[in-house]
């Protein structure tokens, strides 16, 4: 009698189908995703039932942190550079093409204009470190009218925030202003920003307040 031969079976699993699925998923994620914008400060926005989505273009986002430091971001890189030039001109500040390129890459910016060229010369990691430093007075767009100085000289002599917004509105008339702030920010801090926007020079009275969707919102 012949022995029953145990057939040697290959353990080879066909991964082609699996690969197909993963590639499909990957394509889905790549096409539908928008990357998280890198922000110099972490804010937790308050919740609301409003379901209006934030517009993707023509947006000037004003980021206000708990201490009242202001950062700005614009979605259009070209307009951003134009705005930078318009703000810098009255101060006689010029930039090298390398600095402009660095500025183009910045997601949100917020340093006094006098300090901008030096800031743009720093490598990206150093820039981040600089912005993270809470004690640093050279972080945030100055939004006070008075003169601010520190040991290294004058930081700002006037309200640069006002200049930035005015220049941005000059560059793009359809610009919408969005305010993003942490929910624990005290009201006077936000009020100060809103008052500047409402003031005689800017005359802006429509804003978008960035919020997150409130859970279980339907009544």
């Amino acid at each position: 009698m012949a022995k029953v031969k145990v057939k040697k079976q290959s353990t080879f699993i066909d991964m082609t189908a699996m690969s197909d699925v993963t590639v499909l998923l990957l394509t889905f994620f790549m096409t539908t995703s928008t990357f998280l914008a890198k922000e110099p400060i972490q804010v937790t926005t308050p919740a609301s039932v409003s379901e209006i989505k934030i517009p993707e273009t023509n947006l000037l986002t004003i980021l206000v942190d708990k201490d009242g430091k202001v950062f700005l971001s614009m979605d259009n890189a070209e307009q951003k550079v134009e705005t930078l030039r318009a703000v810098s001109d009255p101060y006689g500040i010029t930039y090298t093409s390398k600095q402009i390129e660095a500025f183009r890459k910045l997601q949100s910016f917020g340093v006094p204009i006098r300090y901008m060229p030096a800031f743009l010369d720093l490598p990206v990691e150093k820039q981040d470190k600089e912005l993270q430093d809470l004690e640093n007075k050279r972080v945030g767009v100055p939004s006070d009218d008075g003169k601010i100085e520190d040991g290294r000289g004058v930081i700002s002599s006037d309200n640069e925030f006002k200049r930035w917004v005015a220049a941005a509105l000059e560059v793009n008339e359809d610009l919408k202003i969005a305010i993003k702030s942490d929910k624990t920010t005290v009201y006077p801090t936000v009020k100060k920003i809103i008052d500047i926007l409402r003031g005689d020079e800017l005359r802006q009275n429509r804003y978008l307040l960035i919020t997150t969707l409130r859970e279980g919102s339907s009544n």
Partner: protein, 228 residues
Amino acid sequence: MAEIQQDEKGEGGKNKQKKQHLRVDFTPMVDMNMLLITFFMFCTTLLKPQTMNINMPMKDENMTKEEKTKIKESGAVTLLLGENDELYYYLGIPKDQSTYDDSTYLVTSSYGPDGIRKLLLEKNTGTYEKIQELKAHLKEGVIVDSVFRAKTKEVHEAAKEIAPTVMIKPTELSTYENMVDALDEMLICNIGAYAIIDLTEGDRFFLYQRTGNKEYLTEEQRTELGQK
């Protein structure tokens, strides 16, 4: 990692060309894809943040006082946003000293369904239901967005005489979240007319009376109080 399996049948045959099965191992490819997917999942925001539209009244010095106080007294609701998420409200417009002496004039309330929302819904009955209906139509796709907006405007216009006008007055001790919460209540209750405005000295006095916290008062009021 391609593996070539030789067909065993062909053994011992003549110089026939061997049949070859070409099989490619996809396992590393799947591994890599999975890694990429994980990366994209962590780095993306599928949910876009919401926004809330807000129109602030124009800061116009030329506006006369009469124009500023056009608000009907019967419909006026004033919300005072205090410290530690406290919320106070009063109805109407305070007239003279007697209102300031009346301790029941200022009512302590809270954010959320049991607090201020009850009052606002009650005040806004009729309008609320109509807009709620429109909202449902919008969701079902019966009407488009522009029609919805025009119709809500109509409803608000029609109810102008009876609808409440809400004045939100955040104090220096309140937070940004309080302000957004208050605005949120306006959205929930479908209030047509509301605005964020500064506190009057009277409002500050109300809050001081209720809480005993001098921080609600202005500098002048504090010195005046000290002199007394």
